[in-house]
């Protein structure tokens, strides 16, 4: 029993350190100064290595580390299906065959670009349509259809607007969203200190955030650069939390 415990403890390096300090092996003769130093050094190395591996393991289980940001648990990506924060094994293999350089990936197996795509898509999870109607994936022809028929890329039909816009990239989309959240914290209060039902964050400057389209008198599409964005939030009275209705460049 004692031998077993000592064997397990050996992996930590602690018995080696103790032997070195005392100057006596557990099963053997006394040590000279050189042997004691060597014993203490080996013990310390084993102890540090074990502590480092335990810390790394715990961080891995928590999903922390340098990756940070939004932890993607499930969803479909351009590379395949994400489950439990990781790309499914078969999709990972499919996208990392020999000879092709693997894109720089984080712990979840997704590149920053893929993580941003999922984060932008998640902006619509409360029933909004910022990504569906104004995401960087919206095509020129989808804008034209919206302007001419009122059918938005999300499929919703309304009065044809005079302008339709989309973000240049998911990065710009997220940057605008995080900026809007900061403004929301200030602008959500009415002049009596109560919470507003609907909060417009109007025309906040952001250079090169996206592009907008209008129709000229002949019905041709005109593209312009947008240097501002607008976000509209709505209060859920039951939870006192705001949801994003829409966010678009203008």
């Amino acid at each position: 029993m004692g031998l077993t415990a000592l064997g397990i403890l050996d992996t930590t390096g602690i018995p080696l350190i103790v032997e070195g300090i005392v100057g006596q092996r557990a099963w053997g003769p006394e040590m000279n100064a050189f042997e004691r130093g060597e014993r203490i050094g080996s013990g310390l190395f084993a102890l540090v290595a074990m502590v480092a591996s335990v810390v790394k393991g715990v961080r891995g289980m928590r999903g922390g580390g340098k990756a940070g940001g939004t932890r993607v648990l499930t969803g479909d990506t351009t590379l395949g299906k994400v489950e439990g924060g990781k790309l499914k094994a078969k999709d990972w293999r499919k996208n990392s065959f020999k000879g092709k350089p693997r894109a720089k990936a984080n712990r979840s197996g997704l590149t920053l670009k893929q993580k941003n795509r999922i984060a932008v898509r998640n902006l619509d999870r409360d029933g909004g349509h910022s990504d569906a109607d104004h995401g960087s994936h919206v095509t020129k022809s989808q804008h034209e259809i919206r302007l001419k028929t009122g059918r938005a890329p999300s499929g919703r039909v309304a009065t044809p607007p005079g302008k339709s816009s989309s973000f240049y990239s998911d990065t710009m989309h997220l940057r605008a969203y995080h900026d809007a959240l900061l403004h929301l914290e200030v602008e959500k209060y009415n002049s009596h200190g109560g919470l507003k039902l609907r909060v417009p964050i109007r025309a906040k400057p952001m250079r090169g955030v996206g592009k907008s389209y209008t129709l000229d008198s002949a019905g041709y599409l005109i593209e312009s650069e947008c240097n501002a964005y607008t976000a509209i939030f709505e209060l859920n009275v039951a939870t006192s939390r705001y949801r994003l209705i829409t966010l678009y460049p203008e």
């Binding site: 109607d133 005079g162 339709s164 507003k196 609907r198 109007r202 678009y248």
Partner: protein, 121 residues
């Protein structure tokens, strides 16, 4: 009573087909105060124009450009609160607010294009 309040009471009475109750009058006055419409200059002219068209059931004959930064009052939140008081079919999807009133008027108040229109049946 500022002009905006008068218009809102008239719109409420037009839509409900009856006189506004003291509670409703009090609520409208409270909403105006909460949303920064204390003085006549806090109300943008284009908003009064819209209400006038709605109350009189007149069409705007096309889209009218407006400046959303006019006036100090918060039109967006005021309209959101009015959805609970004025019986109409409201649809605010962010890029625009559209509402159809019992008198047959349809309002389009665009935010993405900064234009408004009132059309009648």
């Amino acid at each position: 009573m500022i002009l905006l309040e008068t218009y809102l009471v008239r719109l409420l009475e037009t839509c409900s087909g009856r006189s506004a109750s003291p509670t409703e009058l009090q609520r409208i006055a409270q909403l105006l105060a909460e949303n920064g419409f204390d003085r006549p200059s806090d109300t943008p002219d284009w908003f009064l124009h819209i209400l006038d068209q709605l109350v009189e059931a007149r069409s705007s004959e096309g889209f009218v450009k407006y400046d959303h930064s006019d006036g100090k009052g918060d039109v967006t939140n005021l309209l959101a609160e009015l959805e609970r008081i004025i019986p109409a079919s409201w649809d605010d999807y962010g890029e625009a607010l559209e509402a159809t009133f019992p008198n047959g008027c349809h309002l389009y108040l665009g935010r993405i294009d900064d234009v408004w229109s009132v059309s009648t049946k």
